[in-house]
Each structure stands twice: as C-alpha cells, then as structure tokens.
C-alpha cells in the first residue's frame, strides 16, 4: 500500500487561496486504509474548507484513484459538481493526483504527501520495498538491503552500525545485521559471501512504464 500523510491545512489553504469553489475526491484504497483520504477524511476536509469560507461543490471517494477508467467514470457522473468547481483537491497518493490531473482540465491540488510503499506492522507503517526493478530478496533472507539499509549498500553493514542499530537513528535497525542473523539461522550465510556487483540503476529509470505486452 502507498503510505500518505495529510498536509497541514495552512499549506492546503495557501495553494487554494485564489479558488473559492472546490471539488474534493479521495481514494477508497490505500488512503482510506491509512485514514488519510477515505470518504470520512474527504468529508472532514470539506467541513474544514467550508469553515474557511470555501464552497464545496461536491465530494467523492472511489476505488481506486490510480485506475484511470474509474476516475473518468466518476468525474463524468459528477460533471455538474466538478464543472462548478474552480479546482479539485485530491486526497490520495501522488499517482491519484496525477491520474485526476490527466483526466480533468481543472487545476488539481494534492491534500496529502506521499511517503512510501509500505506495510503495517504492529500499528506502525514500515517501508520494505523501494520498487528498484531488480529483486534480490531470494539471496538476502527476504530482507531488502536496498530499502532497509539507509545507504542501500549491498555488501554488508557499514561502520555506523551500533549494537544492531543504524547510524541514522530513530531506532532503525541495521538491515545487514537482520539479513546476517536471518541467513545464519537458515544455514544460508553462503548467500552473501560473494561480492554483490553494483546495482544496475538503468533498471529503475524514471519514469517507468510497462505496456500490455509486458515489455519495459
């Protein structure tokens, strides 16, 4: 899931300052799961904007804003409300904002900051994959050094590891100590004894695309 965080209201009001009539749209998938852009949050945002003297021409939340066809359908069904608005405020990830922006000619604004692709572990969102295009989890005990090591290094811990913790702090664990311990318990330390070659960053060339045929 894509983990998002609501922007401070002042920031949103600042970019909406020249727009009186706003249409709001959220996403019933990731943003709903993280309580940042589901229908309740869209309603709540609408109330906040009204309290600031804005007109909310309509609001909606669909599954999912990254799906162009669904967005197209929703915006055309809501054409009257959308047309009445000067801009659209999107409570979804950056993908959702851009899909709406592709489909509508209105100015589109993000109400959320998009943080990372992550999962929930004990009520905490954690980033485990950074979509690098070249998965090596088969060798690293199911723990990704590219993402979970702050430096993304491939050949073992750096000198900054302190009793299993990473030098960047906030209790982050050293991915390489985790990988080492996991592989040791599985009797597979040989997996990481050879030197890993430098990563091929051309496999993560932005912007990515994948056509229907599957070529990249």
């Amino acid at each position: 899931m894509i983990v998002t965080k609501q922007k401070p209201l002042e920031e949103i009001l600042n970019f909406l300052k020249d727009h009186e009539a706003i249409f709001l749209i959220g996403c019933r998938l990731c943003a709903a799961m993280y309580d940042t852009g589901g229908l309740p949050q869209v309603k709540e945002m609408g109330e906040k904007l009204k309290a600031q003297g804005k007109t909310v021409t309509g609001f909606s939340a669909i599954a999912a804003l990254c799906h162009g066809k669904n967005v197209e359908k929703e915006l055309s069904e809501r054409a009257r409300e959308v047309d009445a608005a000067q801009s659209i405020l999107v409570l979804a990830c950056g993908e959702g904002v851009q899909v709406v922006s592709e489909i509508s000619a209105k100015p589109v604004y993000p109400a959320l900051d998009t943080l990372f692709l992550g999962g929930i572990t004990e009520n905490r969102f954690e980033e485990h994959c950074s979509l690098c295009g070249e998965c090596i989890l088969n060798l690293t005990g199911g723990i990704c050094p590219v993402t979970r090591c702050a430096k993304g290094i491939l050949n073992g811990p750096c000198g900054g590891v302190n009793e299993g913790k990473c030098e960047v702090g906030n209790g982050r664990e050293c991915a390489w100590v985790l990988i080492h311990d996991r592989l040791k318990s599985q009797g597979k330390l040989d997996n990481i004894k050879d030197i890993f070659d430098p990563k091929d960053f051309s496999k993560a060339l932005h912007p990515h695309y994948l056509s229907g045929e599957g070529d990249k």
Binding site: K151, P157, G160, E163, V177, K193, F196
Partner: protein, 288 residues
C-alpha cells in the same frame, strides 16, 4: 620510502590524518602537515568527515603531496556516483596521489547538510574493485583507459563492532576486493584487538590499528556512549581522571599503546582530530 613500499617491508608503519578546513584558508592544515612531515609514513586526508562539508580531500591531498608528504586519499561513496568516483580517481592518479582509502561514508543526515541527497551508488567493497579495475587499465564499463592508475588501495574495519560477525564478513569481502591495507576504528582494549588480529592474520593484508588521542575522561566516556565500535576500558578512564594533566596523560596512553601494538599488528594510524601538534610528542614518547 613511500608508504606502499613501507607496507611491503617489515617496518612498523605510522600514519596520521588531517582534516581539510571548512573554507579556503589552508594555512592551519598545511601547518599540521608540516608537523607530521618526516615523522609519519603517510597522512590520510578526510573526505567531508562526519558528513560535514569541507574543502575537497582530493585538492587537499594534492597540496600535501606538493609539500612532500605521501597522502592517503580518503574517498567516500556518499557524495559521488560511479562516474564521479572513477573520474576523481583518475584525477588523483594524474596528480601523483598513490594511496586511496575506500569508504562508504557517514549518512548525510548526521552532518551539517542533512537535507542533501545521499548517493551511495557503490559501496566500499565495490569501490575497492573499481580501484583494482582502474589499476588494470579499464573502467567499470570495460572501456580501455589512456593510461591506467597505480593505486595502493586500503579500507577500514571496526574490530570492536557489535555484532562482530557481519563486520568480519564484510572485512573478508574487502580483502577479496583487493584492499592491501586496513586502518581500523580506534582500539583501546588491546586484548580484544589481539583476538581480532589472531583472526586477521590468515589474510595477507597489513593492519594499522587506529589510535584516537584521548584528551580527557569526559571524552572517553563520550566515545563509549556515542561512537559505534569504540570501547575505552575503565582503567584508562580512571587513569585520565586521576591525572593532573589529562591531555598529557592522553599522549602517554597513546604512546604506550603504540609500543604494545608493535607486537600485535603492522602499524598504527593516529587520529589527533585537530591536535596534530601532539602527534610528534606521541611518537617521541613511543620512541619512534
């Protein structure tokens, strides 16, 4: 004799380090270098140490070289991608710099430009392999170089890392990647260090033990608390505490440890952190 030749001899090697200034006034750095000249085999030049932006290590190495010292170019993967790393290495070689210490580098968030983008295109092990490649006359893409490099590559190891096993696995990769010498994180517990050396002796590499000059008991406690892989034993902290002049005591401790290390490893790397004028005093006291 050059550092690389001394490494090949049986002589106990002494290296020290200088940190380039934050700014263009290099007088202090060159003064420190003058104090070290003739007393040490080579001088490391730190590369934006602790992720604090300073004058470039490459330029500083060149200035030391001009002054008649043998510099060890510290090169981190933090600030340069593989083009810049190779390019700086070629530049260093053209300037006559012969020794490189390959490092990952601290993360930018711990330094004075925490919002900068961390590069880490390569890691220290891969960088060592790149140095080997450039020495063989090729770049990372297999292109022929017009004139190869001829570097003496080195790396670091933390003998007191907790946990130690992953650190040793990395050490072995660095050996495999062509590191000829290692400069260690500061060691104070020499019995523990002896255990590390018993293990490290199976590899044909030279190990220079890190000597970080202690200035006070407070500094020792700070190191224990804050710096990964450093442990100052209680007896040394007590010694500093009881001394009337703890700065002089720090020099004595460093000298004593260097003498003991001559039986244990191949050399010592003295880190005086801004107090380079004390390095000759340490060496005098160690009768070196």
């Amino acid at each position: 004799m050059k550092f690389r030749d001394i490494l090949n001899s049986e002589e106990f090697v002494i290296t020290a380090e200088v940190g380039p200034p934050k700014g263009t006034d290099v007088h202090e750095m060159l003064h420190a270098a003058d104090l070290l000249k003739g007393r040490v085999s080579a001088v490391n030049v730190t590369d934006n140490q602790s992720s604090v932006m300073r004058l470039s290590s490459l330029a500083a190495c060149h200035l030391l070289k001009e002054r008649g010292l043998d510099p060890i170019f510290q090169l981190t993967c933090r600030d340069r991608n593989r083009l810049a790393l190779q390019s700086d290495l070629l530049g260093a070689a053209a300037l006559g710099i012969e020794n490189v210490l390959a490092l990952a580098g601290d993360h930018p968030v711990v330094g004075d430009h925490p919002s900068s983008k961390a590069v880490f295109d390569l890691d220290s092990v891969q960088l060592l392999k790149v140095i080997h490649l450039l020495n063989s006359g090729k770049d990372m893409s297999g292109n022929e170089l017009v004139g190869p490099t001829n570097f003496c590559p080195g790396a670091t190891v933390t003998p007191g890392a907790i946990p130690l096993e992953p650190q040793l696995l990395k050490f072995e990769k660095k050996v495999k990647a062509g590191a000829i010498f290692f400069q260690t994180q500061a060691v104070y517990d020499l019995e523990k260090f002896r255990e590390f050396m018993d293990y490290a002796r199976q590899f044909r590499v030279k190990i220079l033990a890190g000597i970080l000059l202690l200035k006070s008991a407070g500094m020792a406690r700070y190191l224990n608390k804050k710096v990964p892989g450093i442990f100052v034993p209680k007896n040394l902290i007590d010694e500093l505490e009881k001394a009337s002049d703890s700065s002089q005591k720090g020099i004595e401790i460093a000298a004593r440890q260097i003498q003991e290390l001559q039986e244990i490893c191949d050399g010592a790397h003295i880190m005086a952190i801004g107090a380079e004028e004390k390095v000759p005093k340490i060496l005098d006291a160690a009768e070196l």
